[in-house]
């Protein structure tokens, strides 16, 4: 009976996909406050918002943009454009105070593959993706950390290091 109860509890708290569940668990607890648009900067948004739970809001694209290479100052007020390979803008969003941006699945279907651009209207600064997004709408699937490694690229930034 006890084993059944434990198993049932596990079943109710998991998506049934161990890979997805491990990914969500690996993100750790909510850093502070309640979940919201400013939370979990730098983490892969679609791990929870990709439609497999645990978040109810479903996104198609989400990420965090930083001001400068190697630093963690968030970039607020920049436009993030999602484009097809020909450069046509499919959807766009604006980064918030945490540098986060996101596009709901109901408002944007990300082409696969896709690219992205970051533009700051105030000074015309621009950063364009030259490789491609294969299929993941979470920028942080590939972009994380201070520096690039053999299996990842550094955080997304607008300005190169001085």
């Amino acid at each position: 009976m006890r084993r059944f109860a434990v198993a049932l509890l596990g079943l109710l708290s998991c998506s049934g996909d161990p890979v997805h569940d491990d990914l969500v668990r690996g993100l750790g607890p909510e850093p502070s406050g309640a979940p919201g648009p400013l939370h979990r900067a730098g983490q892969p948004c679609l791990a929870c918002h990709g439609g497999s739970g645990p978040a109810s809001l479903e996104l198609s694209v989400g990420g965090t943009i930083y001001v400068q290479q190697g630093k963690t100052d968030p970039l607020e007020g920049a436009e993030v454009q999602v484009t097809d390979l020909a450069g046509r803008v499919v959807c766009s969003a604006t980064t918030n105070a945490a540098g986060n941006f996101f596009l709901r699945r109901s408002e944007c279907t990300m082409p696969e593959p896709a690219k992205a651009n970051v533009l700051r209207a105030s000074d015309g600064a621009e950063s364009n993706m030259i490789t491609r997004i294969g299929r993941s709408g979470s920028c942080a699937t590939c972009h994380h950390g201070d520096t690039s490694t053999a299996t990842s690229v550094e955080r997304i930034y607008l300005l190169s290091a001085e």
């Binding site: 490789t131 590939c142 053999a150 299996t151 990842s152």
Partner: protein, 177 residues
């Protein structure tokens, strides 16, 4: 006496196994490695991004400068000025990953001179004939498909591979990653 003989033979066999070349053939017949470079370039470009097959979590792993690097000191930034291009070791690793994915089927395809590329799961998935998270990447007979199937048949159509990469519309772009 007999025990000593067996011990001796066993030692010789063990020594031979330890000295066996890592390139020794073990019964899998793959397509010509020498003709794979053009094919690899297509696979790396179309399949090898970090969120697709440029990661170790995939059965089919693709290494290269646009995705996962083999050397821990390299980064996926070949398009950036000063970035390091795909290495021969990475091409070798991608070749072994591809051939080793379905070794028995690959052997049959190669022995049949590529008459049935669709026997391979990676071909069916790329064509969209089998469920594939990346969707259908090409259609039978287009340049990308000809690049792969010609390699399987024993004579890579390198011009098809070049067209296949160029068809992606962003080949040759430079700038920040």
């Amino acid at each position: 006496m007999r025990a000593a003989l067996f011990l001796c033979l066993g030692s010789v066999a063990a020594a031979g196994a330890c000295l066996a070349s890592p390139d020794a053939r073990i019964g899998i017949q793959g397509p010509d490695r020498a003709q794979f470079d053009s094919v690899e370039r297509l696979l790396e470009h179309r399949c090898g991004s970090l969120d697709c097959h440029g990661q170790t979590g995939r059965n089919l792993r693709v290494w290269g400068c646009e995705g996962m690097r083999l050397d821990a000191n390299d980064t996926p930034q070949c398009r950036r000025t000063g970035g390091k291009d795909t290495t021969a070791a990475e091409i070798d690793a991608t070749y072994r990953s591809l051939v080793g994915l379905e070794p028995a089927v690959m052997t049959a395809v190669v022995q049949g001179k590529g008459a049935h590329p669709e026997w391979l799961t990676f071909v069916r998935k790329a064509r969209g004939d089998e469920s594939h998270k990346g969707g259908a990447l090409w259609v039978p007979g287009d340049a990308q498909d000809r690049c792969v199937t010609s390699w399987l048949a024993g004579a890579t159509d390198t011009s098809a591979c070049d067209v296949g990469v160029a068809d992606s519309a962003d080949a040759g772009a430079t700038g920040d990653p």
